[in-house]
């Protein structure tokens, strides 16, 4: 695995291996969470669905199918306070093509064209394509919010980060989406081409020198200038001033409890290894305190787990509980965190957390999709590090460092989705 700069604001990640039956190639574009968030989310989906040479969805899908069921999809992530927009190609390795076709090269050409050669007129993107994507994006937002677990987590994040860019939905919002048109999207596309940092990931069986030349040529030809490339920063708030509880009622069978905490981080990577292990002991995995006590001993819920979002310096705890038990569960979760703060955990659980984290970092290299995902998660970081590099950081974390990390954590926002009596 390696990463290098190939043009102003353009990086290329490569991992050449014959381990897999297909390759994954992705174009990852980073932008701030700002007034154009909705437009970019829509645009990336539009770019994946049609292009100059494949003006209808049918044309594009037939072309992909003819490449042995290649996939070209769009995805949008929030990494810290950056919106990361990806076009992802999954494509059969040429070795398995039945008639010796060069499938991967064609797939890569399709991916590059999707980004660089869209179907535009002098007035901008075609309105029929824009209209379709507006409907699809709004339906996607609605559908995600119909999942109560996602809804509760989104609402907690909105409340906790209401004065930060992080409170923005990665897909934008219905109102902004509904006002978009082809001309506006053309402006946003141009802006992406010339000002957004871009990372290309390629994982699979390919010739490295050839791939490097291909991508370097295409992106150098754009004429991007280093001084135009946007710098995207994330605001870290290390400590909560007070804990605020927000409740909502809906017609649900099971209530949801989500807690947002500030992790004490003041910059990306700050105290990361100790926090990662502390969070695991507290609530990630089946050995953790939340699983063993709140689920197994108290029998309060089916899931109750904690996650460290190090790109923003927050920890979230999620659980599904009966509404009448929500405050009982909240107390129990707080007690478990207090126990970690006081050092009330065994050396064995430290070891278990380290083993489990080590195992999951090591597992990345066995999946072409996970390797691509890993590279994408690193796209805003100044230096690329492999999963093994991360695993190595964990070894020397001491009990004392874990306790210190737990004591830096402060509760910020509690969101409870209550079930309304029917």
């Amino acid at each position: 695995m390696e990463r290098k700069n190939i043009a102003p604001g353009v990086r290329l990640f490569t991992h050449s291996t014959a381990q897999f039956k297909n390759a994954v190639v992705s174009l990852n574009i980073t932008a701030p969470l700002d007034g154009d968030t909705s437009a970019r989310a829509l645009l990336i989906h539009l770019l994946a669905r049609t292009g100059k040479d494949y003006p209808t969805v049918y044309d594009m899908n037939r072309k992909l199918a003819s490449l042995y069921g290649a996939g070209l999809s769009a995805s949008v992530k929030k990494i810290g306070e950056a919106q990361v927009l990806s076009l992802v190609l999954t494509c059969l390795d040429d070795r398995f093509a039945l008639k010796g076709e060069k499938v991967l090269n064609e797939g890569i050409a399709l991916l590059l064209d999707a980004f660089l050669k869209p179907d535009i007129t002098p007035k901008g993107f075609k309105e029929e394509n824009v209209a379709r994507e507006k409907r699809l994006l709004i339906e996607k937002i609605d559908s995600e919010r119909d999942d109560k677990r996602v809804y509760a987590l989104t609402r907690m994040t909105e409340e906790m980060c209401r004065d930060e860019f992080y409170g923005t939905d990665r897909l934008g919002n219905r109102e902004a989406i509904s006002t978009l048109d082809g001309k506006e999207l053309f402006r946003v596309w141009k802006d992406m081409l010339f000002t957004c940092p871009i990372q290309i990931n390629i994982t699979g069986n390919f010739d490295k020198a050839e791939a490097e030349k291909l991508f370097t040529d295409r992106f150098t030809a754009l004429g991007r200038k280093t001084e135009d490339i946007a710098e995207i920063r994330t605001e870290f708030i290390s400590e909560a001033y007070e804990s605020r509880t927000v409740t909502e009622k809906q017609k649900v069978k099971q209530g949801k409890l989500v807690i947002g905490m500030r992790a004490g981080m003041t910059y990306e990577g700050d105290n990361f290894p100790a926090l990662k292990i502390m969070t695991a002991i507290f609530g990630s995995g089946t050995f953790s305190k939340l699983f063993m006590n709140v689920r197994e001993k108290m029998s309060l819920c089916y899931y109750c787990s904690a996650r460290l979002i190090d790109s923003k310096g927050i920890i979230t705890v999620e659980s599904g509980v009966e509404t009448e038990n929500a405050y009982k569960a909240l107390d129990a979760i707080r007690n478990e965190l207090d126990a970690v703060r006081k050092g009330d955990f065994s050396d064995e659980i430290i070891n278990q957390a380290k083993l489990s984290i080590n195992d999951s970092y090591k597992s990345f290299s066995d999946s072409v999709i996970y390797i691509d995902m890993w590279a994408t998660m690193q796209c805003n970081k100044a230096d690329f590090r492999s999963p093994e590099d991360y695993a190595a950081q964990m070894k020397d974390v001491s009990r004392e460092e874990i306790i210190v990390a737990a004591n830096m954590v402060t509760e910020d926002t509690v969101f409870i989705l209550e079930s309304e009596a029917e």
């Binding site: 037939r62 379709r132 409907r135 999942d147 029998s299 080590n358 195992d359």
Partner: protein, 420 residues
């Protein structure tokens, strides 16, 4: 007895072993992978609600959701539970129950030998007491509640209840809060004795492992078991649906739908049936089909649209699902397209493109150790081998796919389920 089964095109091979204990074992050695995935499964799921061991006088009817309950309970033991044992190695372990199988699994980068020993040991060592059963009712009760709020889950089960009069595929895998309250230790042992015999199970291990070491661990942990033969009552099922429409209001912003066509379960040459039926669904409804693109352009479906040949022991149906503000219209357009294909047939071009697309997608399945182990167990339980589908691509004919379109889309057995 062991066999080495190879596929030249993929350059892949695996061992199929009839172990002395009576267990079927599959091993796929992948030396270029760093990790290992293992799956230990039994042919036993939520549909197995009425059974007896051969020779017993009467059938036992068990509460809905007991297979899933048993899956949860097997993790427990008199001393350390299975999660605690896996925590000492760093592996991530899990399990799932479906309509007709229950599987236990782990994934790890290191210590696969130790993990395999734990997996075999805990699944073969049941320990249930009234007290631990009671505790689990609280946890599973919350799992059931969670699914009751999940519109994707509800739209499927409402459909199955709209399709099936009697077949137990219509019951929820986890049961209900009421049905699981009837479960006790004795019933759990009775299910365990019937279905967790080595002869009813399979183990698949894929990754950075050695076949001989896998066998040595099986030799150490597994005792020889005489096969248990059981009989089941599968209720009679007519070919018509219970209703052609079912609807539930869950207050969602984006309405969901599922359309089902009930089929007669196929028992012979299941591998061929699977491939030609999936090809029929692909030609009719996949992203390359004219119908899909038209429905998308007309604003009737979105990215969540999908289809599946949904079949298992004693049940079989074609399933089409998605989100739409006008599900009735989606159903009508699909029905019209089926009629058209029934009379006009499939063009050579459409057939070839679906064939190529599905072949590519099937090759993708050979990438990850989890899908390899999963598919080894799955194909064995379905009566074929891991490479059999790929081998069929050369011989499958368009006429067979056309026959599926003519025969399997039975209008009387169609139901539309909607969540609003």
């Amino acid at each position: 007895m062991e066999k080495l089964i190879k596929n030249e095109l993929l350059g892949e091979e695996y061992y199929e072993i009839d172990h002395a204990s009576g267990l079927k074992i599959f091993v796929m050695e992948k030396p270029d992978y760093s990790g290992t995935f293992a799956m230990f499964g039994t042919k036993y799921g939520s549909v197995d609600t009425c059974f007896r061991i051969k020779g017993e006088e009467s059938y036992t009817s068990v509460p809905e959701g007991i297979a899933h309950f048993l899956e949860h309970k097997l993790f427990e033991s008199e001393e350390l539970d299975a999660f605690e044992r896996f925590a000492k190695t760093g592996a991530s372990a899990n399990a799932f129950t479906s309509f007709d199988r229950t599987c236990y699994l782990f994934q790890c980068a290191d210590n696969w030998q130790e993990n395999l020993e734990i997996l075999l040991d805990f699944v073969k060592a049941p320990y249930f007491t009234e007290e631990t059963v009671l505790k689990e009712q609280g946890i599973i009760g919350q799992e059931i509640r969670m699914y009751q709020d999940d519109p994707d889950w509800q739209v499927l089960f409402n459909l199955l209840r709209g399709l099936y009069h009697n077949n137990p595929v219509r019951i929820d895998i986890a049961g209900t809060v009421e049905s699981i309250a009837e479960i006790n230790a004795e019933l759990l042992y009775s299910c365990y004795r019937t279905f967790y015999n080595n002869s009813n199970m399979a183990l698949a291990v894929a990754g950075n492992v050695k076949k001989d070491e896998v066998i040595a661990i099986a030799d150490k942990v597994l005792k020889k078991e005489e096969p248990v033969y059981y009989e089941q009552i599968i209720p009679e099922e007519s070919d018509s649906a219970v209703t052609d429409y079912t609807e539930e209001d869950m207050g969602v912003d984006m309405p969901k739908f599922a359309i089902g066509y009930k089929c007669i379960p196929v028992e012979k040459d299941t591998v061929r049936d699977n491939l030609i039926t999936n090809l029929a669904l692909d030609v009719l409804l996949s992203k390359v089909s004219p119908l899909y693109c038209r429905l998308l352009d007309e604003g009737l479906i979105n990215g969540s649209f999908g289809k599946e040949y949904f079949n298992g022991r004693g049940f079989s149906c074609l399933l089409i699902s998605g989100e739409s503000n006008n599900p009735e219209k989606v159903r009508n357009e699909i029905a019209a397209e089926i009629k058209r294909l029934q009379s006009e047939g499939i063009s050579d071009e459409d057939f070839e493109i679906s064939l190529k697309r599905m072949y590519g997608r099937d090759v993708f399945l050979f990438n990850d150790t989890d899908s390899l182990a999963n598919n080894l167990v799955d194909s064995y339980f379905n009566g074929f081998g891991l490479f059999d589908t790929l081998d069929l691509y050369k011989s499958v004919a368009k006429a067979e796919v056309e026959a599926v379109i003519r025969e399997k889309f039975n209008e009387k057995g169609c139901c539309l389920s909607v969540i609003k």
